[in-house]
């Protein structure tokens, strides 16, 4: 008879999982704080050109002082022929317009004014201070950029931004 009996019946004790919710909440809060939502998924392909010393737009996004428009080749290649120079404009929150209107400078002005009307009520910057950020594909002919500029000039939306991928951060 031995004094020490092997306790082989007990096995490993169960893991205490009561702190699991804490971990999950921590993760949840992290992502809640760190994410900025994408306005919408564009229907055009945009490969941004590279640049250095660009301005970070995050603070403007947080204050809703910026609107994005996309310009590039349409994802649906068959429709490319419908647009000026084969590049389509994508304006978020616009009901799918007719192919003819989709690339038209009139729709830019209407879209921008509509955007201004749906801003949160605590945002009281005049239209000339609200940035319009043009996210254009590398291959876009610049005349299209200038068409957009003209449309914005007509409605006094005078602050624009040319989106690039900032490679100086690395």
């Amino acid at each position: 008879m031995s004094k020490f009996r092997k306790e082989n019946k007990k096995g490993a004790p169960g893991v205490n999982t009561s702190s699991l919710p804490d971990i999950v909440f921590m993760l949840l809060f992290f992502f809640m704080v760190a994410t900025t939502t994408k306005e919408s998924d564009p229907t055009v392909d945009v490969q941004r050109p590279q640049g250095v010393s660009a301005t970070d737009l995050t603070p403007y996004k947080q204050r809703s002082e910026i609107d994005f428009l996309y310009i590039g080749e349409p994802r649906n290649k068959k429709r490319a022929a419908d647009f000026k120079l084969g590049h389509a404009l994508f304006l978020d929150n616009v009901a799918q317009p007719q192919p003819g209107d989709l690339y038209s400078t009139n729709s830019v002005a209407d879209w921008k004014l509509d955007k201004m009307n749906t801003k949160p009520s605590n945002m009281n910057e005049p239209i000339s201070n609200v940035i319009t950020c043009i996210k254009a594909d590398e291959g876009v002919p610049t005349i299209l950029i200038f068409d957009i500029r003209d449309a914005l000039q007509d409605i006094d939306a005078l602050k624009i931004a040319y989106a690039v991928e900032d490679k100086s951060a690395f």
Binding site: G51, T55, G139, Y162
Partner: protein, 263 residues
């Protein structure tokens, strides 16, 4: 055959592994940021006016053609990375000249900086005098109800007030200012790719930030980029960056003209 108990796996270290993974991803992820060059479209003018006469020396013209080739001030450039150096040269070459040197060299065609913008120097007394004069002009225009003049003098007045602010912030005897007409002109053609257009803006921005950073370090001991980022994030400007940034902007104004390609 006797049924054997399957031993329970010890999962106690699972939490450690999960934490390790979590921390690894926390550290390594970079979230894609939206970055861009902010530019201003000039206000629309209802009555077309003839373009003012601008001396060649005050224009820094960057041309890009339909085949995406570059030309700076009439000279073909192969490498677009050279643009920023040329912009720096444009701003810097005549900046360190004293008042007398400027007067003598401005007519001297053999001087190497002849084809570049010259700088003017004003003292605080001169600025204050100009402000007084403009205030009187403004009052007179308001009394006569001549709206065009009111707008004109108001513009002028704010310009001089900015200079006053700047010279006080910089604590300099003289404010060294580039010729008011000196500007960078971007001329593209319809088919020029956006990639090159963005590259041009990238190079201009790089040069401007370098100039401004240098001045900001000299006067305020902090980089311009850092101050402007802080100002972007804090609209109320608790740290007083706005004044500093406006002072630097007076020294190195961002005057870029983008010319619409003719169709």
């Amino acid at each position: 055959m006797a049924k054997r108990d399957i031993p329970e796996i010890n999962a106690g270290s699972m939490a450690d592994i999960a934490f390790l993974l979590l921390i690894f991803f926390l550290v390594t992820t970079t979230m894609e940021k939206d970055t861009a060059y902010i530019r201003y479209i000039p206000k629309k003018i209802d009555i077309p006016q003839p373009p003012p006469d601008i001396e060649n020396r005050n224009i820094f013209e960057i041309r890009a053609n339909a085949a995406n080739r570059l030309m700076i001030r009439g000279e073909i450039i192969e490498n677009p990375d050279d643009i920023s150096d040329r912009v720096l040269e444009f701003y810097r070459i005549n900046r360190s000249l004293s008042g007398e040197q400027t007067k003598s060299l401005i007519q001297n065609e053999s001087y190497k900086g002849y084809e570049f913008p010259f700088y003017s120097r004003v003292t605080l007394d001169q600025i204050v005098k100009e402000i007084d004069k403009n205030e009187k002009d403004l009052e007179r225009a308001e009394a006569d109800e001549e709206e065009d003049f009111v707008v004109f003098y108001l513009d002028l007045l704010t310009k001089w007030q900015k200079k006053e602010q700047a010279i006080k912030m910089l604590k300099e005897k003289e404010l060294v200012e580039i010729h008011p007409q000196a500007h960078i002109r971007v001329v593209v053609q319809q088919e020029t790719e956006y990639k090159l257009f963005a590259k041009i803006h990238s190079e201009i921005q790089e040069a401007l930030i370098e100039l401004r950073d240098e001045a900001a370090m000299k006067y305020f001991g902090e980089s311009y980029a850092k101050m402007s980022k802080r100002l972007d994030q804090d609209k109320e400007d608790k740290k007083g960056d706005g004044k500093k940034i406006r002072a630097i902007d007076v020294l190195f104004p961002e005057s870029i003209i983008e010319v619409k390609p003719k169709g």
